[in-house]
């Protein structure tokens, strides 16, 4: 579904991603872990097309199509979804208008008819129930006056409404108490199926107790320095990142880059 090859990216002229390679197949859940500043959020932003992040090398194929040929809206219409680390407040636009516009744009792109108001409303109610969201949320402005937890829940709510093929969760667990974490994870697990795929970006292992990954990768200084199964996350939790860093050092010595 998603194939990342030798991805390099800059923020404000500083190289943050230094050659990422990652293959994500349909039906898989991958987790990327790493300490602060390792490039986790940069990766998420590059994949969704935030123009503040500059790709300097490498390529990404999303369902065999060149991702960097697509603007952010096309990526979304092709089925990519980013659950933001810091969801944006938009005063004056209701969740209903926001989601209806987005959903209809995606459907139009995929040559599907627009949903009728009843169909749309049914979908809203249905998905709100899954996340324990109040129906009245739909008439409120997007994320305005929402607590941190509500904002994260709203991201997952949007995911359930828009039904993307590929979901990027960017630090979705940060700032969530245990109940909210359970609800959010439950939303993800309900949606998870053999036809979609997830990339979970997180600093902490605890989210992975609820959303069990098939693969765990460790990102450090802009590179994936270790990959493994879900047990790798536990190991990281236990030992911290330091042991990896040492190992990475050895790795670099073993295969020096020609720069």
């Amino acid at each position: 579904m998603l194939s990342i090859k030798n991805l390099h990216a800059n923020v404000d002229g500083k190289e943050i991603l230094k050659g990422i390679n990652l293959e994500i197949k349909t039906g898989e859940v991958h987790a990327i872990m790493g300490p602060n500043g390792s490039g986790k959020s940069t990766l998420a932003n590059v994949l969704t097309g935030n123009k503040n992040y500059e790709v300097t090398n490498g390529n990404v194929l999303f369902e065999e199509k060149d991702l960097f040929d697509m603007d952010p809206e096309t990526r979304a219409r092709e089925g990519m979804f980013l659950a933001f680390q810091y969801p944006i407040e938009i005063p004056g636009i209701s969740n209903a208008t926001f989601l209806k516009t987005a959903l209809n744009e995606i459907r139009k792109y995929n040559k599907l008819p627009e949903l009728t108001p009843t169909e749309f409303l049914d979908r809203i109610k249905d998905k709100a129930k899954v996340l324990g969201l109040d129906d009245t949320l739909i008439s409120r402005a997007v994320n305005v006056g929402f607590s941190g937890g509500e904002k994260k829940r709203n991201e997952i709510f949007q995911m359930l409404i828009l039904e993307p093929k590929f979901v990027l969760l960017d630090e979705t667990d940060s700032g969530l108490d245990i109940d909210a974490l359970r609800i959010v994870s439950n939303g993800v697990n309900i949606y998870r199926n053999p036809n979609n795929a997830f990339l979970v970006v997180t600093h902490y292992q605890r989210l992975l107790n609820y959303i069990q990954p098939d693969f765990v990768h460790v990102l450090y200084k802009g590179k994936i320095i270790k990959s493994g199964g879900k047990e790798l996350a536990l190991e990281l939790e236990e030992k911290g990142y330091d042991w990896i860093k040492t190992e990475e050092f050895e790795t670099e010595n073993a295969w020096p880059e020609s720069e």
């Binding site: 809206e73 990526r75 979304a76 979804f81 933001f84 938009i90 636009i93 744009e105 402005a141 828009l162």
Partner: protein, 445 residues
């Protein structure tokens, strides 16, 4: 010298105007006209040296020799032709003016409660001049040559009289359609609204242009709001891009009254609105809501004034501007709290979004407070569309242009949301959408 010539032009045209009056030259209004003509001969049109007109250059208006509508040919319209200009999906009493002159055949006033008058000024002057003689040109005083010009040629316009204790359930929709084939026409509506004690009325004034000939709307609207009365006054201005539009609104409010003024501007090359309200007693409420969208080289100037002359009154003002291309906005919000006006609450906000690097806004709050026990606040912000919000919307599949337009409409929303007539609110929203869409199309060309 140019200004002097302009005055002479309009003074010289007065004779042919007078000839058209058919015996009406004996009415009290004619005395007012003649006095105004004297003022017109003496007053200069404002220049940038005048503090009130510092940011608005009217020279492009004065370059033209406009012909007052009365002595020009008035185009004929069919009912179907005016339909697209009307706000619809709600009940209203319809008044139509073509180039400022009452078009009875196009109007549908319908049934009115007993004693309510909804008519053209010229017919009132013929049939019942006493009903308005106390008010017209008494609420508003001539304070510049544009006012003098309107008053000297005052002939027709909207007159609404709502007697004490009467509630007009349906709003009055007033279409001012301006159009000309040959002349550069000068449209001079002279509007008067008198709301008696305990009365309620809503008026929607709807200024539109037809065709692309340059014209000039120079309007005076006088509003008297009696004790305990509620007046909702909407202005939606969508004149032709090449036309000029100047309106002075002067309201006087009596005890316990409420005045809601909505001022929404889309069209016009140079637009100037003066919205003035005098609080003539206690416990008065005034709300000013304004929204303007400008693109190309449009110039939109809103000067608002609330004269807090008496204690225990409140005013609240929210003006928002959306400026693109090389357009320029001007906002001057004057509030005077006089020495007697203790316990005044006055709030004012002006927010502007600049969509291009070359659009400009001059915003100036002007608070003059002479009482000591008052609550007054004002704020002005100028910004650009938020990139982060735009990215967030796009990341959900919404194309960039639509994302921008959603954000702009969101910005306008807290003004539009105050519109009390739901279908009108929707149609104004639609106009905003169309206007933004047109801006995009023009950019692409």
């Amino acid at each position: 010298m140019e200004h002097k010539n302009v005055n002479e032009w309009y003074v010289a045209k007065f004779k042919s105007f007078e000839d058209k009056l058919n015996g009406q030259s004996k009415s009290f209004l004619h005395e007012i006209r003649k006095n105004a003509l004297n003022s017109l001969a003496e007053l200069s049109f404002p220049t940038n040296r005048n503090e009130e007109w510092k940011c608005t250059n009217v020279a492009p208006i004065l370059k033209h020799n406009f012909i007052p509508a009365m002595i020009s040919t008035v185009p004929k319209f069919q009912q179907d032709e005016i339909k697209p200009f009307l706000f619809k999906d709600f009940d209203y009493h319809l008044m139509v003016f073509v180039n400022g002159l009452f078009a009875e055949e196009l109007s549908e006033i319908g049934n009115l409660p007993k004693g309510v008058v909804v008519d053209g000024l010229n017919r009132i002057i013929k049939n019942n001049p006493d009903s308005i003689s106390k008010y017209i040109n008494n609420l508003s005083k001539i304070d510049n040559a544009f006012n003098a010009l309107n008053t000297a040629y005052s002939y027709d316009g909207l007159v609404v009289i709502v007697p004490d204790g009467t509630i007009l359930e349906k709003p009055i929709q007033v279409l001012y359609l301006n159009s000309s084939k040959d002349d550069l026409v000068l449209s001079l509506p002279r509007n008067l609204i008198i709301a008696g004690k305990n009365s309620q009325v809503s008026v929607i004034t709807n200024y539109r242009g037809y065709g692309d000939k340059t014209y000039f709307s120079n309007i005076i609207t006088e509003i008297y709001i009696g004790e305990n009365a509620i007046v909702n006054f909407y202005k939606i201005q969508n004149e032709n891009d090449g036309s000029y539009h100047i309106e002075k609104v002067q309201a006087i409010q009596k005890k316990n009254s409420v005045f809601n003024h909505y001022n929404i501007n889309f069209g016009g090359a140079i637009v100037r609105n003066d919205i003035n309200t005098l609080h003539d007693d206690q416990n008065i409420e005034t709300h000013y809501y304004g929204l303007y969208l400008a693109h190309g080289k449009q110039h939109v100037d809103n000067h608002t004034f609330i004269d807090h002359a008496k204690p225990n009154c409140m005013s609240n003002e929210l003006y928002k501007g959306i400026l693109d291309d090389n357009s320029r906005g001007v906002f001057n919000g004057k509030i005077i709290v006089r020495r007697d006006a203790q316990k005044t609450n006055a709030y004012q906000q002006n927010k502007t979004i600049l969509l291009s690097k070359t659009a400009t806004i001059d915003t100036k709050p002007q608070l003059e407070i002479f009482a000591d026990d008052v609550k007054c606040s004002h704020g002005a912000t100028v910004g650009h569309l938020d990139d982060t919000s735009e990215f967030y919307i796009r990341s959900r599949g919404v194309p960039q242009e639509l994302a921008k337009s959603m954000l702009i409409r969101a910005f306008a929303n807290d003004v539009i949301d105050t519109v009390k007539i739901e279908p009108l609110k929707e149609q104004i929203n639609h106009m905003i959408f169309e206007h933004l869409h047109r801006v995009e199309i023009e950019n692409e060309q």
